[in-house]
C-alpha cells in the first residue's frame, strides 16, 4: 500500500473536501457562499480578508474558502492554495470592461503547482442581469478551451436568484469524488 493510497483512504473516511473560491472583486463570491448556505444576502459588504464556511452537502463536508478579490488582496491568494481540491472561479458576467483582467488572473492561477490537481469550476455569475454575457461568451473570452491541465466546467448561474448554484456544486463534488475517493 503506497502512501497515496493511505492518504486516499484517510480522506475517504472523512469525506471532507476543500474548495477555494476566487475571482475579481465584485464577482459575487460571498453572495454565492451565503446563498448556498441559505443566509441573507442583502447585507453583504465587500470582503476585507476572507470568509470560511463548512457545510454538509450530499454526505460530503465542504470547507469553502471565500477570499476577497480586491487588487490589494490578490497577492494573498497564494496563502490559501495548499491542499485545495477544487478552485471555484467566479466571474461577473456583466463586467465586460474587466474580462481581460479576469482572464489574466485565472490563467496565472492555473500554472500554480499547488493547484495542479484541483478541479476547476467557473461560475458565470449574475445571469439575472440582462446585459450579462452567456456562459459560451465567457468561455471564449477567458479562453477556457486552452486549459488542458485541469478538469473544468463553466456553469452559468445567478447568486441573487440561486439559479444553477447547486448544479455547479454537484459537478464539483462528483468530480472530486471520482478523482480522490476510491470506490470499494
Amino acid at each position: 500500500m503506497g502512501l497515496l493510497t493511505i492518504l486516499k483512504k484517510m480522506k475517504q473516511k472523512e469525506k471532507e473536501v476543500r474548495l477555494l473560491m476566487l475571482g475579481l472583486d465584485n464577482a459575487g463570491k460571498t453572495t454565492i457562499l451565503k446563498k448556498f448556505n441559505g443566509e441573507d444576502i442583502d447585507t453583504i459588504s465587500p470582503t476585507l480578508g476572507f470568509n470560511i464556511k463548512t457545510l454538509e452537502h450530499r454526505g460530503f463536508k465542504l470547507n469553502i474558502w471565500d477570499v476577497g478579490g480586491q487588487k490589494s488582496l490578490r497577492s494573498y491568494w497564494r496563502n490559501y492554495f495548499e491542499s485545495t481540491d477544487a478552485l471555484i472561479w467566479v466571474v461577473d458576467s456583466a463586467d465586460r470592461m474587466r474580462l481581460s483582467d479576469c482572464k489574466k488572473e485565472l490563467h496565472s492561477l492555473l500554472v500554480e503547482e499547488r493547484l495542479s490537481g484541483a478541479t476547476l469550476l467557473v461560475f458565470a455569475n449574475k445571469q439575472d442581469l440582462p446585459g450579462s454575457l452567456t456562459a459560451r461568451e465567457i468561455r471564449e473570452a477567458l479562453d477556457l478551451d486552452s486549459i488542458k491541465t485541469h478538469h473544468w466546467l463553466i456553469q452559468d448561474c445567478s447568486a441573487v436568484t440561486g439559479a444553477n448554484l447547486l448544479n455547479g456544486m454537484d459537478w464539483v463534488v462528483n468530480d472530486i469524488a471520482s478523482r480522490i475517493f476510491t470506490m470499494d
Partner: protein, 344 residues
C-alpha cells in the same frame, strides 16, 4: 476369562465407538458440504444482485439519456414561448440523472462510473449549446428596442451615444462591446435615462468628460470607468455600483454596495446599506445622499433597497488597514461645503 471378557468388551466398545465416530465424521462432512453449497449459493446470489443492480442502472441510465437526447433534438419544434420551461425541465432532469449516478457510485465499477459521468458532461454541454442557439440572450432583441428608446431621449437630450459607442469599440481595454444600456465616449452633454429603460438592468458608463448623467429609476447594477469632471446621479440600486479611474467627479448614488477604485478628487453623496470601499484612491470626500426626485419612493420600493439604513460614513480603505488611525485617502465632506440642493 475375566480378562478375555474384559478384553472382548473393550474391543466391542472400540468398534462401536469407531463406527459412531465414523458416522459422526460422515455426518459432519455432509453438514459441511451443505453449508458450503448454501454459502456458494448465497455468494452467487449476492454477486448476481450486484450485477443486477449494475445492469438496472445501465438500463435506466441509458433510457433516460436517450429520452433526454430525443427531447433535446425536438427542441426546435417547441413553441418559442415554452422554450425556457422546456430547457429548465431538461436541466432539471440532467441534474436528477447526475444525482442518480452519484448515488449509484457505491456499486458501479470505475469504468461504468467514468463513462456515465462523461456522457452526462457531454449531455450538459449539448443542452447548453442548444439553449444558447435557440434562446439567444435578450440583449440582441433588446439592442434594437434600445435604439428606439434612445431616439426618444434625443428629443430632450439630443445625444449621439449610440454612434459614439460604436466608435469606442476599438478601445483596447474594452475587449467586448458593452451591454445595450450605456453612455460611452461623450463630452459636454446632459444624458438621461428613465425607469422604463433602466429598471432592473445593468448600466455601463465609460469615457465621459464634462457630462451630467441622470438615471431616474432602479437599475440592478452600474459599472463606471474613466469619467472626468462629470456629475452622476442615480436612483436606488439593489446590487453594486463599481467605479474606477474617475477624476474630479461628483457622484450622487444609492446602492447596496459601492466599490471605488483608482479615483481621485471626487465627492460622493451616497446612501449605502452595507459599506463603501475604496482602493488606490485619494482626495475622496463623502456626504449623505440628499438628491430627491418625483417617483423616488416607488423606485426604492421596486429596488427593495432599505431607505432607513445608510452607512455613508463607514468606509473601508483597502490600502489602509490600521485601525487606530484614520485613512488619509478619504474624509467626510464638511457640511459647509456640501451642495444643499441639486438643480438638475
Amino acid at each position: 476369562m475375566a480378562d478375555w471378557q474384559g478384553n472382548y468388551s473393550v474391543t466391542t466398545t472400540t468398534e462401536d465407538q469407531m463406527s459412531a465416530f465414523t458416522d459422526k465424521l460422515i455426518k459432519r462432512e455432509e453438514e459441511r458440504q451443505t453449508q458450503l453449497q448454501k454459502r456458494r449459493l448465497e455468494e452467487s446470489e449476492q454477486s448476481f444482485k450486484i450485477q443486477d443492480s449494475v445492469r438496472n442502472f445501465l438500463d435506466s441510465f441509458k433510457s433516460e439519456r436517450r429520452d433526454l437526447e430525443t427531447s433535446l433534438a425536438e427542441s426546435k419544434s417547441v413553441e418559442s414561448s415554452k422554450l425556457v420551461e422546456h430547457f429548465d425541465i431538461l436541466s432539471q432532469r440532467v441534474s436528477k440523472l447526475q444525482r442518480y449516478v452519484s448515488e449509484s457510485a457505491m456499486f458501479l465499477p470505475p469504468y461504468e462510473l467514468k463513462t456515465a459521468q462523461n456522457l452526462l458532461t457531454s449531455l450538459q454541454a449539448k443542452i447548453q449549446e442548444k439553449r444558447e442557439e435557440l434562446l439567444p440572450k435578450k440583449r440582441f432583441a433588446f439592442k434594437s428596442s434600445n435604439k428606439k428608446a434612445d431616439k426618444r431621449t434625443v428629443v430632450s437630450v439630443g445625444n449621439k451615444s449610440e454612434e459614439t459607442a460604436k466608435d469606442s469599440k476599438s478601445e483596447d481595454d474594452l475587449v467586448i462591446e458593452l451591454a445595450a444600456c450605456k453612455f460611452v465616449g461623450t463630452s459636454n452633454k446632459t444624458l438621461q435615462k428613465n425607469g422604463n429603460e433602466i429598471n432592473q438592468k445593468d448600466i455601463a458608463l465609460a469615457n465621459l468628460t464634462d457630462c451630467v448623467v441622470l438615471l431616474y429609476g432602479a437599475p440592478s447594477a452600474i459599472h463606471m470607468n474613466k469619467l472626468k469632471n462629470c456629475k452622476i446621479f442615480s436612483g436606488p440600486v439593489p446590487g453594486s455600483i463599481f467605479i474606477r479611474d474617475c477624476t474630479n467627479c461628483t457622484f450622487v448614488l444609492a446602492c447596496q454596495q459601492l466599490r471605488i477604485h483608482s479615483t481621485t478628487n471626487s465627492h460622493f453623496y451616497i446612501h449605502v446599506t452595507s459599506k463603501a470601499i475604496i482602493e488606490d484612491c485619494n482626495g475622496i470626500k463623502f456626504a449623505p445622499c440628499n438628491w430627491t426626485y418625483d417617483g423616488q419612493d416607488e423606485d426604492y420600493a421596486l429596488s427593495g433597497l432599505s431607505k432607513e439604513r445608510n452607512n455613508w460614513d463607514s468606509v473601508d480603505d483597502f490600502d489602509w488597514l490600521a485601525a487606530d488611525a484614520h485613512s488619509p485617502n478619504w474624509s467626510i465632506l464638511d457640511e459647509s461645503e456640501r451642495v444643499a440642493s441639486w438643480n438638475v
